[in-house]
Amino acid sequence: MMSINARLLLSASLVLVAFLSFTGYALDRAFTDSGIVAIKERLQTEIFSLLAAADSDDIHTLTMPGTLPDLRLSTPASGLYAEIISDQGKVIWRSGSMLGIKIPFSPIDVKGEPRFTEVVADNGTQLYTLGLSVVWEVAPFIVRGYTFYVAETKEHFENQRKRFRKSLAMWLGAAVIALLMVQAIILRWGLTPLRKVASEVADIEAGRKTELSANYPQEIELLATNLNVLIRSSNSHLKRYRNALGDLAHSLKTPLAVLRNLVNSDGLPEGTKKTVYDQIKRLDKTVEYQLQKAVASGRKALAAPISIEKVAQKLLNTFRKVYVDKQIDFKLNIDPDIKFIGDEGDLMELLGNLMDNACKWCRNKVKVSVFATDGMLTILVEDDGPGIAQEEQEAILKRGVRGDSQVEGHGIGMAVVRNLVEEVYKGKLTIEKSVLGGAEIAVILAW
């Protein structure tokens, strides 16, 4: 899923770009419109100055003086052109600037109303034209009609507009960059608390912290507080639960130990002795198995991954002490980077029981290997002992057999392991023959 940061950055950037494009477009339109209005006014002024300069001769024909106020009209190809046409369609006068250029002025029917058009001259020059049809009283009661045209090349205005657009683009571009930068900084700052939550959760999971720190903005303070409550309660709940079970074990097993010793020493009849002894043994196994089962916690939220190597090493030190006379040659083949996602106590129970059995049954070699392949974590415990007979393997692995009724020999340990692997961690337990000669127990868990 797209990150919050990317979402905000993308949407804000889109809005920013759209807004600035619209601004650019509007400014360009305003510039063009005002430019054209200015051209219209200028051309009108030209027409008025031509009108002012016009005179009539003896035969009541309109004449123009040799020199005109605007010098551009006398200079060829200056960009400003003028023409006067009589109502009969006869060209009365042309400005000197029109030498060598033909402009297709469109005729105007309505008198006294200036008309603005855009035309293309024969040499391809684009022009703005303004025409004004007037009625001229050359002498009392002698009226003639003329149309005055002026034209100006678009070139000048286009150049101006280009310059304007260029600087507009530059400023808007600079504004976009500056605003994007500011926005990125604001986003970073605004999302800092979320980033902090994420990194603190990662710290908790890695075991560097036990809970989230206290100062958060009010929007996520509640979340942080609740998360802390959750972590604390799950930890303390598990601890209390385990302590309670420990006390229960202690208070159940100590009397069992007393009873068991009594049976051996008292003068009970042999048959009774055996029955009592068997019942005590059954009680003991049930208590042991059920407590072990109850104490397994499984995967917890926000628990640090456990280094399998460390746990195996701890157990190995224990077994070195306990089985010192056996001089066992231990081999640990565990990548220290492979972590167990779950409870350390569970892992210790799992490995402890498997390694203890291996130590018990081996001649002098025990090997523990752990490897991870595409999402599967495999724990192998091997020994060079006699191995496990087929029927016993079946009894150990058979589903639905209650652990406390399981066969002697591999004892309650294997039942605890099976419960942990299959019920608590939803993995698989298999028994094979090891290359070392004895049993090879494999635990396969999702990683």
């Binding site: 074990a249 159940l252 100590t254 210790m348 129970e349």
Partner: protein, 224 residues
């Protein structure tokens, strides 16, 4: 061998201690962690049995404190929970072995004998001393693999001397490790027993395995 038992459950403590006494241990009993801690520090203990689930301070704390104060005698822990976390914690704190309740008394005694022998530096249950040897598993004294008939108390004396072979063991040390505290000690009894042992081990007085160092004590020689 002098053994310290820390167990808060009085009936169980009584059962264990009487079985251990029958097997030749001199047993001191503490019903709380504090008492046990004190006895371990102050008494000449050879081996300790510590219940982890004590009402005042945990057995693990007791062992840790002993080890901090360099009390090096071997310790066996008794645990009600069979959890590896607890066993590992116990052994990491300095214990040497564990037993899960309920246990067979014979198992406890065998483990304790192994611990004592190991802590004296002997890895095999049969300890050779020249032509003599001590079978700690069978609790027998042998000469050229022939059993020498000794009484239970004589065996205790021999065992202590052999586990401390080539070291001088004073009479008071011997009595401290063989008798319980409230026992009325009489050093003449030990002298008589040593004399009897000399006769049994070395009837023709040629090997002289047990030396007397005047004013200092006795020494069992590992080779003749």
């Amino acid at each position: 061998m002098r053994l310290l038992l820390i167990e808060d459950e009085v009936p169980l403590a009584d059962q264990i201690s009487s079985s251990l006494r029958e097997s030749g241990f001199a047993v001191d009993i503490a019903n709380t962690g504090e008492d046990g801690l004190y006895l371990g520090k102050e008494y000449p203990i050879d081996v300790a049995v510590v219940d982890i689930g004590l009402p005042d301070i945990s057995g693990i704390e007791v062992i840790k404190k002993w080890r901090e104060e360099e009390c090096g005698f071997p310790v066996l822990i008794l645990t009600a929970r069979g959890r590896w976390e607890e066993k590992v914690e116990g052994l990491e704190s300095g214990a040497d072995d564990y037993l899960v309740k309920p246990f067979h008394m014979e198992e406890l005694i065998a483990r304790l004998r192994t611990l004592i022998r190991r802590s004296a530096g002997f890895s095999d249950s049969k300890i050779p001393m020249g032509r003599f040897s001590l079978d700690t598993a069978a609790q027998k004294m042998l000469f050229d693999d022939e059993e020498i008939d000794v009484t239970a108390f004589e065996y205790k004396v021999l065992e202590y001397l052999i586990l401390h072979a080539d070291k001088v063991v004073s009479k008071s040390e011997l009595s401290e490790h063989l008798y319980e505290d409230d026992f009325d000690r009489d050093s003449n009894v030990l002298e008589v027993i040593i004399g009897r042992l000399r006769k049994k081990l070395d009837p023709d007085k040629s090997l002289n395995p047990i030396e007397t160092l005047r004013g200092r004590g006795y020494r069992f020689r590992s080779v003749e």
